[in-house]
């Protein structure tokens, strides 16, 4: 294969893996919200919802790795290794690339802390996991800002669909009926206790 052909392959692979990463990330966040709600999904008991969330996130890591590696190898993208992890230093497009780097950094933090969950304890894990709500918007903005196919119909539809899904799920996440607490009292004594600060039927627990 000629060097030009390899370069072209890297370029296409880099972009397509980026799109797949965004879709997977959207799926991961959706499953994360579903996991937190404590509800079953069709055909999936609660432990399975949680397990699929974890598996999908590892798959997202794989595609994100492909995305970053191919683009740093590809001469056309002008991406240095350092810019993939240290935000806002790249040329061109320091902001948009930087958001991608920030998103990557957060993803690493979330995955590593999740793998080490039992060692670091629930409170530390949860504090860092909230960053998922920054991770996804960064990834979205990075896509919009650096995406080479944003003018194409299919890409636009995809981005809109992902955005609407996450927006809808986030609204659900903040609603009072989000948690499946019917029939039981929620504790009201310890405001510092739980992320249920935004949901839950009877205040903080």
């Amino acid at each position: 294969m000629s060097s030009a052909a390899i370069d072209k392959a890297l370029w296409y692979l880099g972009r397509s893996s980026g799109v797949v990463s965004l879709v997977l990330l959207t799926l991961v966040v959706a499953l994360g919200i579903a996991t937190r709600s404590g509800r079953l999904l069709p055909g999936l008991p609660r432990f399975a919802v949680s397990a699929v969330h974890r598996s999908a996130s590892l798959l997202a890591v794989v595609f994100l790795t492909v995305h970053v590696v191919t683009l740093t190898l590809d001469p056309q993208s002008q991406l240095r290794w350092i810019d993939a992890v240290l935000p806002f230093g790249s040329h061109p497009k320091p902001l948009w690339i930087g958001l991608g780097a920030a998103s990557l950094d957060l993803m690493v933090a979330l995955v590593v802390t999740s793998l080490l969950r039992q060692r670091i304890g629930h409170r530390v894990w949860r504090a860092i996991h909230w960053a998922a709500y920054a991770l996804w918007p960064f990834a979205l903005l990075h896509t919009i800002g650096t995406g080479t196919d944003m003018h194409r119909g299919w890409m636009l539809s995809l981005v809109i669909a992902c955005t609407l899904s996450i927006a809808g799920l986030t609204i659900w996440r903040l609603s009072t009926r989000f948690l499946d607490d019917a029939g039981r009292t929620i504790g009201t004594r310890l405001p510092s206790r739980d992320t249920r600060l935004l949901a839950g039927s009877k205040g903080l627990r």
Binding site: R184, T185, G187
Partner: protein, 426 residues
């Protein structure tokens, strides 16, 4: 709506009482001079000597659980890290006033004991954790006087306990002193291993420490002689309710409970029942009370124990169910709210008791409160639900006749006086 009722049990009454702590001279020994005149000074002792003293005297905890002091000392010594000692005078039990009495009238004995356990555990930090009703300024003066006299090798910090029923629970004490909330924690590891700020911690009731201070002066054999062979020494009790002279009394282990009641002047009217041990304790019928002794082994068949030394006499004419209903609502409100079964179960149980106490209700209310009781016992970080159910179950047994009356929409009440205190906390 819960009827809230607070009685300030006289914490400074005296009377014809004998006892090592109360003594025959009914004076407050707040000043160092008075204390030394009454008791002399603590003999110099090394760490081993203190542990041996605790072992030989058989001194157990006087906070309710009755755990042997020497075992706690050994556990702290075996743990890694520099120890911290805490004198626990939170006394969250509304019907108890003995700890406040000790800290008001015998603070030096408590603080002598605190220094002794600090020596025994090689601790370098000490806390005096006190009930919110105690005057911190007065206690600070006591500490200052001791410092000037060079009595406190380990300096003591006074901390006021939050006003709540469970703020005296061992892990809640540790939680508060660690800078967090005064709520119970998961019991592993134990506080003797990892307590305040992760360090091995000895939490000891103020009465236990005061007794240790006396044992250090008079010897283990003296203490053993004061009680029975299996339960050495004396204990303080708070006697209230339908008694002539409610207040603090002192009795040796093994004393018949009627004699203890006599120390408080005896009953003012005929008693129908007696609450022994506090709101996590046990109701005894008048007959059971008349036959019982102040000893763990004697009370065990009745599922009772001396606990933190609370005795409340319920006279005839008071509705036992009404009293229980107020207390159950209080106990439900006092749940830490951390553990699902307790948080969900106790209020629902209290509601059933209330419906029985107020409206009569039907037998399903009794079945339901017992069914829910099975769901709360043993399913929490502390023994709050367990103790509350002991209180309720023993009450249903002792007040069985009253229960039947209420099921028939009647009540035996002739008096509207409230007996068991249910203070407003946060």
């Amino acid at each position: 709506m819960t009827i809230l009722f607070e009685r300030d049990i006289q914490a400074d009454t005296e009377g014809a009482r004998r006892g090592a702590l109360i003594g025959s001279a009914p004076t407050a020994q707040r000043e160092l001079r008075a204390h030394l005149a009454a008791h002399g000074s603590v003999p110099a002792m090394d760490a081993h000597a203190v542990v041996r003293l605790a072992t030989d005297s058989g001194l157990t905890g006087h906070g309710g659980a009755g755990f042997p002091l020497y075992r706690k000392l050994e556990a702290v010594l075996a743990a890694r890290g520099r120890a911290i000692v805490v004198a626990n005078g939170a006394e969250g039990e509304p019907a108890s006033a003995k700890d406040r009495w000790l800290l008001t009238r015998r603070p030096h004995l408590v603080l002598d004991g605190l220094q002794l356990v600090a020596r025994a555990t090689k601790a370098n930090e000490a806390y005096l954790y006190v009930n919110h009703r105690l005057d911190v300024a007065t206690l600070t003066d006591v500490l200052t006087e001791r410092q000037r006299a060079g009595l406190d090798r380990v300096s003591v910090t006074i901390v006021t306990a939050p006003h709540a029923f469970i703020s005296g629970e061992e892990s809640a004490v540790v939680g508060h002193l660690s800078g967090g909330v005064a709520l119970p924690r998961f019991k592993s590891p134990r506080v003797t291993e990892r307590g305040v700020r992760g360090r091995p911690t000895l939490v000891s009731n103020v009465e236990t420490l005061a007794l240790l201070a006396l044992v250090a002066r008079r010897g283990a054999a003296w203490f053993r002689a004061l009680g029975t062979t299996d339960a050495p020494g004396t204990m303080l009790l708070t006697v209230s309710g339908a008694v002539r002279g409610s207040g603090i009394v002192e009795a040796g282990h093994g004393t018949p409970l009627t004699d203890v009641l006599a120390l408080a002047g005896g009953s003012s009217i005929p008693l129908q029942a007696v609450l022994l041990g506090g709101y996590h304790g046990t109701w005894l019928s008048a007959d059971e009370f008349a036959a019982a002794k102040l000893s763990r082994s004697d009370l065990a068949p009745l599922n009772a124990s001396p606990g933190a030394g609370v005795i409340v006499g319920l006279g005839e004419g008071t509705c036992g169910l009404a009293e229980m209903s107020r207390v159950m609502s209080y106990l439900a409100h006092e749940s830490a709210g951390q553990c699902g079964p307790c948080l969900n179960g106790l209020p629902r149980i209290a509601a059933q008791v209330k419906s029985l106490a107020l409206k009569g209700g039907d037998r399903r209310a009794v079945d339901e409160m017992l069914r829910l009781g099975e769901l709360v016992v043993g399913r929490g970080a502390c023994h709050h639900p367990d103790g509350s159910m002991r209180f309720l179950r023993s009450g249903l047994r002792v007040f069985a006749a009253e229960v039947e009356l209420h099921l028939a929409r009647r009540c035996s009440r002739t008096s509207n006086d409230l007996v068991l205190p249910t203070p407003v906390t946060r």
